[in-house]
């Protein structure tokens, strides 16, 4: 999945050449896919639609990236055309799944990713057409591609809903959550762009991205076991579910040696950070050059980690520390480790893009003031959505568990997210916070959102076992 984001079109190439090349690429892939489809006989099933989504989004991402680098407006026109086409296929995939399952697709990580990718594409088009932030697709479309690829790896079977999930309010809750989180993600991307336009030093971005990847690998390595193994959740292939030892207690299996590899990658992603700190101390620019090379090296190692993780955790029988015998596992059982590794690669690539093409990016982006305003507006959309999301969740909990608020970790963290954004709004409105401080606040808000979405499920115990 990394290869798509790493496409590096030559800025020297004229606009038409690349558009024609991407167009031919998309057409070729569609043609090949069509041949396969004709052979199998099913034209409009979900996996075909999803494949079409992937092809169009990839085309869109390539063109957006090309726009980000060259700044030729022709790219954007074709990029949004490709996004529209991908969105159409994506909508089709959602509709097909809805029809097949008989309920709106919100009940598993897979289905939520399907919705998330869709929301992301819609918001990209809105940001582009309404607010004129044309370069946004450079960030959002690669994320959408990662989402679609993750979906291919996760389970796709239509799974019947357990009784607690059979509620309209759940659908309302999850839809609002996806919309709110997508809006938060957008405000985060805008805040980052603001920092670029606000002349924040490239080195600071180096420190931030390294810190993110180090934190990700530290998080993953909380599963490091004795003798260099890495524990992942066991997977029952017949029931297509995680294996539980008892209520709420998951069974972990240990993949041998993978832990050591991840420790190595941790060292590789920590190296730029260490070099950056040495540079801060000595002010010797040689260390900075080394740090940037270390980022490049760390990306190679991260890709290696991804390949090995996918290879080992995709299938296979492994021993457990808690039970006798060998148990199977599956990538579906470790969505968070997978997204962590993919996220690390993506963030490091974005840093390289900034490092190499900063001037072009600055020319492309709207002015700092404009970005600051749009960030605020996005949060002004996200905050009411967050509020309604929490309210719908509380109402659902009240109908299902008899209590609208039980302080379970997910609820508590949703409330914390809400408070952080409420803090942002108060600081902005009553204290007139603008610019950098506001941007940091928006970034903090999104970090808390990510923790609520991934961290709580992955690290903390609670009732929200479904998501």
């Amino acid at each position: 999945m990394a290869h798509v984001a790493r496409v590096e079109p030559q800025p020297a190439a004229t606009g038409t050449t690349l558009v024609v090349m991407v167009g031919l690429g998309v057409a070729f892939l569609l043609f090949m896919a069509f041949l396969n489809v004709v052979k199998s006989g099913h034209l409009l099933n979900e996996s075909n639609l999803l494949y079409a989504t992937l092809i169009f989004y990839s085309g869109a991402a390539t063109l957006y990236l090309a726009f980000g680098i060259t700044g030729l407006p022709a790219y954007v026109r074709y990029a949004s055309l490709a996004t529209w086409a991908g969105l159409l296929a994506n909508t089709g995939a959602i509709a097909h799944r809805w029809y097949e399952a008989g309920h709106p697709p919100f009940s598993s990580i897979y289905e939520m990713l399907l919705m998330f990718v869709w929301t992301l594409a819609v918001l990209t088009l809105i940001a582009e057409k309404k607010f004129g932030v044309k370069v946004i697709g450079t960030v959002t479309m690669p994320v959408a591609i990662v989402g679609v690829v993750l979906m291919q790896l996760l389970r796709t079977e239509v799974h019947p809903l357990v009784p607690a999930l059979q509620s309209t309010w759940l659908h309302v809750h999850v839809t609002l959550a996806m919309l709110a989180y997508a809006a938060c993600a957008l405000s985060f991307a805008l805040a980052m762009m603001f920092l670029i336009q606000d002349k924040m030093k490239t080195e600071t971005f180096l420190a931030a991205t390294s810190l993110f990847t180090v934190a990700t690998y530290l998080g993953v390595l909380t599963r490091f076991e004795k003798w260099g193994g890495l524990s992942v959740i066991a997977w029952n292939p017949e029931e297509k579910s995680e294996v539980f030892l008892s209520r709420g207690v998951r069974l972990f299996v240990v993949i041998p040696d993978l832990g050591w590899l991840l420790v190595l990658v941790l060292a590789a992603v920590a190296a730029p950070l260490v070099l950056y700190l040495i540079w801060r101390k000595t002010q010797d620019d040689g260390f900075l050059t080394m740090a940037n090379r270390a980022v490049f090296l760390s990306i190679l190692l991260q890709v290696l980690a991804l390949v090995f993780f996918v290879w080992r955790a995709r299938s296979g029988l492994y021993g457990s520390l808690d039970a006798e015998g060998l148990f199977p596992t599956n990538l579906s059982a470790s969505p968070f480790i997978l997204s962590g590794i993919v996220g690390g690669i993506f963030v490091s690539l974005l840093y390289l893009l900034l490092l190499w093409r900063r001037e072009d990016l600055e020319r492309m982006l709207p002015s700092a003031d404009e970005l600051d305003r749009i960030t605020y507006k996005t949060i002004a959309i996200a905050f009411p959505l967050l509020t309604l999301m929490i309210a719908a969740g509380a109402y659902w909990a009240n109908r299902t568990w008899g209590s609208y608020w039980s302080w379970d970790p997910k609820e508590t963290w949703a409330a914390i997210t809400w408070l952080v954004y409420a803090g942002y709004l108060h600081m902005r409105i009553t204290r007139g916070w603008r610019g950098r401080r506001a941007a940091y606040f928006a970034i903090l808000g999104f970090a808390v959102v990510m923790f609520t979405f991934f961290g709580v499920t992955y690290l903390l115990p609670g009732l929200h076992a479904y998501a």
């Binding site: 009784p163 059979q166 009411p384 659902w396 008899g402 209590s403 302080w407 803090g423 108060h426």
Partner: protein
């Protein structure tokens, strides 16, 4: 003395109302609640698991500090109360200003205001009356509802939209207090409990989490319960037919499922669990007399006695769903219907003789050979229990009201802009007649700026003034929010 008390109270009030206090309190709430999600909490985590997770010293320390039940600790409740007071104090302190702004709109701008306002233009005019009429028409068309403000020698225009949005933030704060109020009421007067019923059973005793019993002024009876599965065997639906019984009369009936509770007098019954009791509900048998003539099917419940003929009766004395025999005794291994055994007692009234019939025959204790009837098991229906979560939350209506009000409030805060426009005829330094047009908005200033410019263009075009004419003040200063 009196003054010191007074000044102390004032100081406390001002500290509470300060935004800094509010921020510090909120940061504390965030840190403590985050800690509450990381540290295992009672009673959600049971005592054994707590002891496994923490060493005795650490556990004693955590318990002593109340960190194992953060969200119900007195100091957390105190903190939330302080947050509420801070919101109230801050709102009250800022309210008079906002109210003045709201209730007494500034309609005729003086010279200082006219000069200081970032968004204004001056356009040269010939006739005051005509120019103001044009401005009035344009303002009206744009939805500003202009009114004429009459001065001793002339008049000016004032128009505005969505003035109520100035009050929106108080609506949001009030809604938050409503939600808090509901939470406090529930913390004080609400309760939760559990009730387990099997078919036909009736109870008015609810067991709370700490094991104590609570008596309800009515009873609940279970008339049936069941589970439906998907084709793959995973549960699709659990249901219970419940009846509320008061003074021996059924006052309410409802089939509840997960997500759809029964509500009676503010007490709600939720489908929470469903499972096997390990007891038999009905056992279907074929009874054949010794002579082999006139076999018949009978259905018998546990402890029930049935006549087989004029002289003989049969009673189901025991039913073991999953039996093992050890040292000549029968034991139950589990509650699952794996390896069932039934103990029937066949009695003859004439002889007064009772025979133990075991199905299947268990060596050592069965007397099947001397029974006047032979029995054969045909079917068994096990008894199931339904687990009901019971809760009483009188404060929830305040919470839902707060949520709805907050939805409205936030919509007003974010999407309704209080915009004001003025048009005042003035004379410039050379004595030339000019029309001063000014406008301002309390948020989304960039959007308003464009709108304002459009209004000015319209007025100019209707007055047949070329767009270049007029002295425009730098409007860029408007852009901010």
């Amino acid at each position: 003395m009196g003054t010191t008390v007074h000044s102390l109270a004032r100081k406390i009030w001002q500290t509470l109302a300060a935004i800094k206090t509010g921020v510090i309190l909120l940061i504390l709430v965030v840190i403590i609640s985050a800690a509450g999600t990381v540290i295992l909490q009672r009673p959600a985590t049971d005592a054994d698991e707590m002891q496994r997770a923490y060493s005795p010293q650490v556990l004693r320390l955590l318990d002593g500090l109340g960190l194992t039940d953060v969200f119900h600790a007195w100091w957390f409740v105190l903190l939330l109360t302080l947050v509420s007071f801070s919101i109230i104090a801050a709102s009250i302190q800022r309210f008079p200003n906002a109210w003045r702004y709201f209730s007494r709109p500034y309609k005729s701008p003086d010279e200082t205001f006219r000069k200081a306002l970032p968004g204004h233009v001056l356009i040269p005019i010939q006739d005051e009356e005509a120019a103001l009429s044009v401005a009035e028409r344009v303002f009206k068309k744009a939805g500003f509802g202009p009114e004429r403000i009459v001065h001793p020698s002339s008049f000016s225009l004032f128009g505005e939209r969505h003035r109520f949005s100035e009050m929106a933030v108080y609506i949001v704060h009030a809604s938050l207090l409503l939600i808090f109020l509901g939470g406090i009421v529930d913390a004080l007067y609400g309760w939760r409990g559990f009730l387990t019923l099997s078919r036909g059973q009736q109870s008015s005793q609810v067991e709370s989490q700490n094991g104590s019993k609570r008596a309800l002024p009515f009873a609940v009876r279970c008339d049936g319960a069941g589970q439906e599965n998907y084709a793959d065997g995973s549960p699709k639906r659990w249901w219970s037919d419940l009846a509320v019984v008061k003074n021996e009369q059924v006052v309410l009936r409802k089939q509840i499922v997960v997500n759809d509770p029964l509500v009676y007098r503010g007490v709600r019954f939720y489908q929470a669990s469903y499972g096997k009791t390990g007891k038999v509900d009905r056992l279907l048998l074929t009874a054949t007399p010794r002579d082999g003539q006139g076999a018949k099917d009978i259905t018998v419940g546990l402890g029930e006695t049935l006549p087989l003929d004029a002289d003989t009766t049969v009673r189901l004395a025991e039913f073991i769903p999953d039996y093992v025999v050890r040292d000549g005794q029968v034991y139950a291994r589990s509650n699952d219907l794996e390896n069932p055994a039934a103990h029937l007692v066949v009695e003859s009234r004439k002889s007064g003789q009772a025979v133990n019939f075991w199905l299947p025959p268990i060596e050592g204790i069965e007397q099947n050979a001397s029974s006047p009837y032979a029995f054969e098991g045909k079917d068994v229906q096990m008894a199931y229990f339904t687990g009901l979560e019971v809760s009483h939350e009188p404060g929830q209506w305040s919470v839902w009201a707060g949520v709805i009000v907050m939805g409205f409030g936030l919509a007003l805060v974010f999407y309704f802009v209080h915009a004001r426009v003025w048009a005042v005829p003035v004379r410039d330094a050379r004595g030339q007649r000019m029309l001063w047009i000014g406008g301002t908005a309390n948020k989304n200033k960039d959007v308003f700026e464009q709108r304002f410019q459009k209004l000015v263009e319209q007025i100019k075009s209707e007055l047949k003034i070329s767009p270049e004419a007029g002295v425009e003040a730098p409007i860029a200063a408007l852009a901010g929010k």
